[in-house]
């Protein structure tokens, strides 16, 4: 192959030269010629092309360029200069290599004019060498009573190769040592070769050739006898014969699918009980001969069996499909094993218990069990077997899987009973099964340890043998609700799977009974699940009673067993703290707890609570329950009312006691003794004495109040301050020209102030040393606000009493205005002493504030101020003028 490359190249060059000379003919000018033309290239190899310059000296080899698809210029490193007129290029061939390779001149003049004369191209046809066909296999199927003349062969690869070459496959079927042959060509990966007549018993040589334009590849040869390709139809007319005399056997007959002269067959037979489809295969050695009947043996009586057959060439070849099901039931015979007798305790009494006797059909019933015969007697009662009285109990169950309830018996605690049972079918009786049910006094030791856990999709029961070594067998019983089932195990078994159809998520109580030659030992019982799942329901929580102020007592019930689906691990109590329920508290309690008291709750708060039940597989929350805690606990309101009432009562009593005990003090405080001016010894200084007497008498009737003015009372101070602040300002401004303690109203001018810094000390001394008393002569109404009126004739009468001088005495025109307000508007004098420069000054201010006319009090400050200004203009003609003179005289 390698040696032929230079030779091929030389031939190509020669051809190129010929082509060049031919092209150089007049009328068609092309100065570049490429070789080889239309090469067939294998992807993955290198390709070398040559460009020749002919009939021109305008172009040299150095002007030539190789391009792919006229755009991608090939680097000059890949060029090889052969001589002055030939240039080689070598490019790798890949699946992405463009299909055109061009050789052209780079001279500019050649590119514009007559460019076709300086360009030549090569079409690159590329692809893969055909792959070797592999995994060749051929098959000929049966067609009616002969083998089809078409041999179907298939091979790999199944997908065509990429590239420009299509691969064709030729299947060859040759007779060994003969010129006879058949073949079939296709582009697919399979073909049917027509042999005209299938060549039975002839050695064939079969192979496949894959061929494209790059070459040919041949598969491995199959050198086999032609019969090895045959796949026949399955045996037909399968007939199964059941013979009464052979209850454990079935005879199978069939018809071979093809004549033995064409093919020697071997068979495979399988059979299974109809109920299980658990196939059993007849050993190949028994059916590896060309037979047409076979006897199945060691079958179970009265059991329907399904049988299937298939066949193939006795040496190589393909198995046919399995034949259709052929079903036949074996004949019945008498039961060959004991019935399975057991008991369950229905109820217990003081003197014994009620027991139900149960029975399963014998494992080898060998026919329909029509009845049971049962004998129950005291264990100590010795009777020969022939004297046993059997009670016949018809078997009502139609299926052998069910348990038959034989009868109920009452057992004494002290007397064990022996139970014997036989099963009866149409062919006879079974062996006798015996159990001894002990009384409670005849306790036999149980197994020492019992564990039940799921394993490989079943429940595995594991126990430790009891100390007593006389155990003959064990009985494993499992119950769920009112369902009961059991299985027996041999005495050396310590671990077994429960063979019943257990359901997932159902709790089974598994018990293991040791049996001592039929004598039933004490059981040990545990609960188990085949598979646990999350609970299906949650407990419903409710309150026990009514909720308290800070606590609530929750109760719930265990969810039904069928919804637990696993061992309950705990309950989790949730309750929402916030009103919007976003914040919840959780409390976990054990699985045996069904009540809980929530404490430290907030009064008058709505709570949502629910309970989640959990097992190992998950949890389920129950229904939400809402309640609201009480604002007051029962009796709390009554207690508060009683307490408050008692306190009030105590206060009232105490007050009354104080009033009673201190009535004199109170009386003095509220109703001070005012000396009767009438009884005063002071001389009458007023010229009109009788008027004075009448005035005194009238003054007592109108009420005389003790002025208790407290300037530190904030409220009163500021209330008055609003109205009187201007007055204060005016007062200070007018200090230099006002003096004396003469009465002044709130609307008095600054000149009417009674405080004077120069005379304060004198006044204080005067006030402190001598209490002035004056009798107030009541006028006929309020007149102080009518300064325009003619000045009233004020009448002053000086009392000699020690009673302090009342304001009304100094400001008689305000007397009628004030009444009961006096007691609340005036601050105590003691505070005045602290907060005023002069006690007399404050006293006077208080008097000014207090003696505001009603009209001023009810009006706003602006109007009052206006009035005061108005009033100020008339102030010089006030009736106070005489007072000043009077005071000075004093």
């Amino acid at each position: 192959m390698v040696e032929s490359v230079p030779l091929l190249r030389a031939v190509l060059l020669l051809l190129a030269a010929c082509v060049a000379s031919a092209i150089a003919s007049p009328g068609f000018v092309n100065y570049l010629v490429t070789a080889p033309q239309n090469p067939l290239l294998q992807i993955g190899t290198n390709f070398t092309a040559t460009c020749f310059i002919t009939n021109t000296s305008d172009v040299t080899v150095d002007d030539l360029r190789w391009k792919l698809l006229a755009q991608r210029e090939i680097p000059p490193e890949q060029y090889t200069k052969i001589n002055e007129s030939a240039l080689n290029v070598t490019i790798p061939i890949t699946d992405k290599t463009p299909r055109w390779l061009f050789c052209s001149s780079q001279k500019p003049a050649h590119g514009r004019y007559n460019s076709g004369a300086y360009m030549s191209g090569i079409y690159l046809k590329k692809g893969y060498f055909p792959r070797k066909p592999e995994n060749l296999s051929c098959r000929a199927v049966q067609d009616k009573m002969h083998i089809s003349q078409f041999i179907h062969c298939k091979w790999e690869p199944k997908q065509p190769l990429p590239g420009d070459f299509s691969t064709m496959y030729t299947v060859n079927v040759n007779f060994v040592n003969s010129f006879k042959s058949f073949n079939k060509t296709t582009s697919e990966s399979s073909a049917d070769v027509d042999t005209e007549v299938f060549p039975n018993f002839i050695f064939l040589d079969v192979w496949v050739e894959a061929e494209n334009e790059l070459g040919k590849m041949e598969s491995e040869h199959l050198l086999v006898e032609s019969n090895s390709f045959i796949k026949t139809n399955p045996p037909s007319d399968v007939n199964i014969i059941s013979e009464d005399s052979f209850p454990t056997s079935l005879l199978i007959n069939w018809t071979r699918p093809i004549d033995e002269t064409q093919l020697r067959l071997i068979y495979e037979i399988r059979f299974a009980p109809e109920s299980s489809y658990n196939w059993s295969y007849v050993p190949r050695a028994d059916t590896s001969i060309d037979i047409q009947s076979f006897r199945l043996q060691n079958l179970r009586p009265d059991t329907a069996y399904i049988t299937q057959l298939r066949c193939k060439n006795d040496k190589d070849g393909y198995w046919s499909e399995w034949s259709n099901n052929s079903t036949k039931r074996t004949p019945s015979s008498k039961p060959s094993s004991k019935p399975d007798v057991w008991h369950i305790t229905l109820s217990e009494f003081a003197d014994g218990r009620q027991v139900q006797l149960l029975c399963k059909e014998p494992e080898f019933a060998n026919g329909k069990i029509v009845a049971y015969q049962i004998s129950v007697r005291d264990f100590k009662e010795k009777l020969p077997n022939q004297n046993i009285v059997w009670e016949r109990i018809p078997n009502a169950n139609s299926s052998s899987a069910l348990i038959t309830v034989l009868k109920q018996i009452h057992l004494n605690n002290s007397t064990p009973v022996i139970v014997k049972v036989t099963a009866v079918n149409l062919k006879g009786k079974s062996p006798v099964a015996t159990i001894v049910i002990p009384g409670k006094e005849n306790v036999v030791s149980p197994v020492q340890r019992l564990e039940v856990y799921p394993d490989a999709g079943k429940l595995l029961v594991e126990w430790t043998a009891p100390n007593n070594t006389a155990v003959s067998e064990y009985l494993v019983q499992w119950t769920s609700g009112d369902q009961v089932d059991w299985q027996r195990e041999k005495k050396n078994v310590r671990k077994t799977f429960i063979r019943g159809n257990l359901e997932r998520f159902v709790m089974y109580n598994v018990s293991v009974y040791p049996l001592y030659s039929g004598w039933i030992g004490n059981p040990v019982q545990v609960g188990a699940y085949l598979e646990q799942g999350a609970p299906l329901d949650g407990p419903t929580v409710k309150l026990k009673g009514k909720p308290g102020c800070t606590e609530a007592h929750l109760i719930w019930e265990e969810i039904p067993k069928d919804k637990q689906r696993g061992f309950i691990l705990n309950y989790t109590i949730f309750y929402s703290v916030d009103t919007d329920g976003t914040k919840t508290e959780a409390i976990t309690v054990p699985s045996d707890t069904f009540s809980y008291t929530l404490k430290s709750l907030v009064r008058n708060q709505r709570y949502d609570t629910w309970i989640s039940v959990s097992n190992v597989m998950g949890s389920h929350r129950g229904v939400k329950h809402s309640f609201t805690t009480l604002k007051y606990a029962p009796g709390e309101i009554e207690g508060i009312v009683v307490g408050v009432s008692l306190c009030f009562l105590f206060f009232v009593v105490l007050t009354m006691l104080i009033c009673v005990c201190k009535r004199d003090v109170i009386k003095d405080s509220f109703w001070p003794k005012i000396p009767n001016p009438g009884a005063s010894t002071i001389g009458t200084w007023s010229p009109d004495h009788h008027i004075k007497a009448e005035t005194s008498s009238e003054n007592c009737l109108s009420g005389v109040s003790v002025l208790d003015v407290d300037v530190c009372d904030g409220k009163s101070f500021f209330e008055e301050d609003k109205a009187c602040l201007p007055l204060k300002k005016d007062k200070y401004m007018s200090e230099e020209h006002s003096s004396g303690i003469g009465g002044s109203s709130c609307m008095s001018s600054p000149r009417q102030s009674v405080s004077d810094s120069d005379e304060g000390g004198d006044i204080a001394d005067t006030t402190a040393s001598t209490v002035q008393y004056s009798s107030v002569v009541a006028s006929s109404g309020y007149k102080g606000q009518t300064p325009s009126l003619p000045a009233q004739q004020a009448v002053f009468s000086r009392s000699e009493s020690t009673q302090p001088l009342l304001e009304s005495e100094e400001n008689p025109d305000m007397l009628s205005l004030e009444g009961s307000r006096q007691s609340r508007r005036f601050p105590p004098l003691s505070h005045c002493e602290e907060n005023s420069d002069s006690p007399n000054q404050l006293e006077m201010e208080a008097k000014m504030l207090d003696f505001c006319p009603v009209g001023e009090d009810s009006e706003d400050g602006v109007s009052a101020e206006g009035q005061s200004h108005e009033w100020l203009t008339d102030a010089p003609i006030s009736s106070y003028m005489p007072q000043l003179g009077g005071y000075r005289q004093q």
């Binding site: 040592n177 006879k180 004549d259």
Partner: protein
Amino acid sequence: MTKSGQMACGTARRMNGHVKSMYFQLYTKTAATLLSLMLMMVFDTTIMVAASRTQQCGNSLLQALKLARLVQKESVDIIRTYKAAQGDLSELICKVTLYGLPDPNISGLEPSEQISSIHTSLQEFSPHFRRVYDQQTDLQLADSLLLLQLNLIRGRSQYLDVQINHVYQDLFPNSPPLVPDSSGGATSLPPPQNVFQQKVYGCVVLKTYKEFLSNVCKYLRTLKNQMCGMNIRRVNKTFF
């Protein structure tokens, strides 16, 4: 060889007692050695021949026998089909004897000749099958079972010839190969016939072929018995 030894002993006995005794001992020793050598050679040859024959019978000869049985069975079937397809005269037409057909018997004395005879007969039957097929094509429906079986038996006949040739090459590898002859050999096809004659001709051809195949099966079975396991001792006898 054994016989010549005994003569030598007799000569020495007549010549000299003492010397005779010495020569006798000498010849006895030599004869025993040669006898042992010959026995070993004969036994080895027997084993080699038996192995060769066992190998041969396990391949082409057995396959040829199986194929001959198949073709014979099919020839029986086709006669049954042929008679059913010919109508009421089927029994009558098949009792007629015709000349010019291949000899159903196997000729020759040696196995090579006998196998060659089988090959020749198969070659001779081929044009007759073609003629019968053509004739029955005019008489039967295109999809009739008879035509199918005629086609089948013609193809099988060729395959059997291939297999016989194979047996011949296996058993006699140094002999010239059997020459294929599609001309019909010594027999000749009959002239144009009417329908009755065609029916008679077809049945006679098929009956003759069946008889021939019966002989072939017998022969091949015999040959197999000669070549294969249970008759090795019989084959060995020819070497003693």
